[in-house]
């Protein structure tokens, strides 16, 4: 089958690839581009491990066809740290033991980032709602919720 071109920015860098038509964004990111931060947990939309941010919105890369992302700005967890310094959310996840096996973590961080971008001072309820499409089998969720609230507080302190 003839390959089709796709072109988008990934964490600020231009990417252009030829892919098989109908390839999911998850497979394109992981297998073609080599960004393995989005994880394939279920490929059914139920676990959230593949979550990425497309044009500012949280999306499931396992159910998104890469061709529909032409021209889009895509953010993944691998693009968050700057010059080796972890993003406040990454720092908070580590400090709060919000990551154990780590499989859900990149998806959780994407969901949390969209929340904090839109709601810098979220309530606990806002956090629970924002993470409601993401499954974690290790932590019991509480440390993740606390990490997101901590990152929000440290963001607002830095801003003050």
């Amino acid at each position: 089958m003839a390959k089709v071109p796709v072109q988008f920015t990934l964490n600020g860098a231009e990417k252009a690839e030829f892919i098989d038509s109908g390839t999911t964004l998850l497979n394109t990111l992981r297998d073609k581009i080599g960004d393995t931060s989005p994880k394939g947990g279920c490929h059914q939309g139920t676990c959230g491990a593949c979550s990425v941010i497309i044009n500012g919105e949280l999306r499931l890369s396992c159910l998104t066809l890469a061709e529909t992302c032409n021209g889009a700005a895509i953010t993944t967890t691998s693009g968050l740290s700057e010059g080796g310094v972890l993003h406040p959310l990454q720092r908070a996840f580590l400090d709060a033991f919000a990551t154990q096996c780590g499989f859900c973590t990149p998806g959780m961080i994407m969901a949390a980032k969209v929340l904090l971008d839109q709601t810098p001072n979220p309530s606990r309820e806002d956090v629970v709602e924002a993470l409601s499409g993401n499954i974690c089998r290790c932590t019991g969720y509480e440390p993740i919720i606390q990490a997101v609230l901590t990152a929000a507080r440290s963001n607002s302190q830095n801003a003050a």
Binding site: M1, I19, D20, S21, G22, T23, T24, H43, Q44, G45, G48, S51, E57, L58, R59, L60, C62, L63, T64, L65, E67, T68, A111, V114, V128, E129, A130, S132, G133, N134
Partner: protein, 264 residues
């Protein structure tokens, strides 16, 4: 195996491409890409249209038109569609709502289709390039429906006239045990003058509770007033049995939840 995607700028051209065997229209993909990922061999290719009208919401003179590609998230945040926000937010988690379209929801089998339950209560019309269909006719024949849905239309309900409830076991996001939408009008003395009640998960697709609708007419929304409607709420239902709930359970709890919604 990857399935080729064909993108067309017009609905007309996309409709023509959909005539090929094995092709499926791609909305947000939350059901159809999932099916492909699971190895559904009946899907051999995707077709979509990027015609701008598919993504438009228009509200004028109390009439609403929502393009088929509009997502649940877009409905939930639209100022003029506030009464429907609850129903749109009932669909999946945040990422699903950013992807799930109105058009796709119309085809979602139980236990999905929560937003379509709202559309059924609102007596929506379902539009294609070939014309409009009442939603009940569309739902009854949706398997044989191959033309692209372009939009849904309905009259905005009067203030407080529309109610929606989704019952799920996992909070805040879970698949429906059942969902209920009602559009009620009341006479000045408080008695119900018209009622439409739509149910989700009480059959393989959204259905109306016609016996309960009739039993509500002329009654007040009090425990005594709604009792006859609750007694017949399960008439005509054939709920799904799935890992969320059995058909028996769904029938048992329907009157309880309908009662809560009517008295809310």
């Amino acid at each position: 195996m990857a399935l080729a995607l064909q993108t067309f700028s017009t609905v007309k051209d996309a409709n023509a491409a959909l005539k090929a065997a094995g092709t499926r229209y791609l909305g947000g993909g939350t059901l159809v890409v999932r099916a492909a990922n699971e190895g559904d061999v009946s899907v051999s290719g995707f077709v979509r249209s990027t015609e701008p009208s598919l993504s438009a919401i228009t509200v004028s003179g109390g009439k609403v038109s929502i393009g088929a590609s509009v997502t649940m998230a877009a409905i939930a945040r639209h100022r003029d569609l506030a009464p429907l926000a609850r129903a749109a937010r009932a669909v999946g988690g945040p990422a699903i709502r950013n992807m799930a379209t109105v058009g796709g929801n119309l085809f979602a089998p139980a236990p999905y289709g929560d937003f379509t339950v709202a559309l059924l209560a609102l007596d929506a019309s379902v539009s294609t390039n070939g014309g409009d269909l009442p939603i009940e006719t569309f739902l009854a024949t949706r398997e044989s429906h191959h033309a692209i849905i372009t939009a849904v239309g309905f009259s905005l309900p009067l203030e407080g006239g529309f109610r929606f409830l989704k019952v799920s076991r996992v909070k805040p996001k879970g698949v429906s045990v059942l969902s209920i939408a009602t559009v009620l009008e009341q006479a000045p003395d408080g008695t119900v003058s018209s009622a439409r009640i739509a149910l989700g998960c009480m059959a393989d697709r959204p259905m109306r509770a016609k016996a309960a609708e009739n039993a509500l007419l002329g009654r007040k929304l009090t425990s005594d007033g709604i009792a006859p409607a609750l007694a017949v709420a399960s008439e005509g239902t054939s709920p799904v049995t799935d890992p969320i709930a059995s058909a028996w359970y769904r029938n048992e709890v329907l009157p309880v939840h309908l009662g809560r919604l009517l008295l809310a």
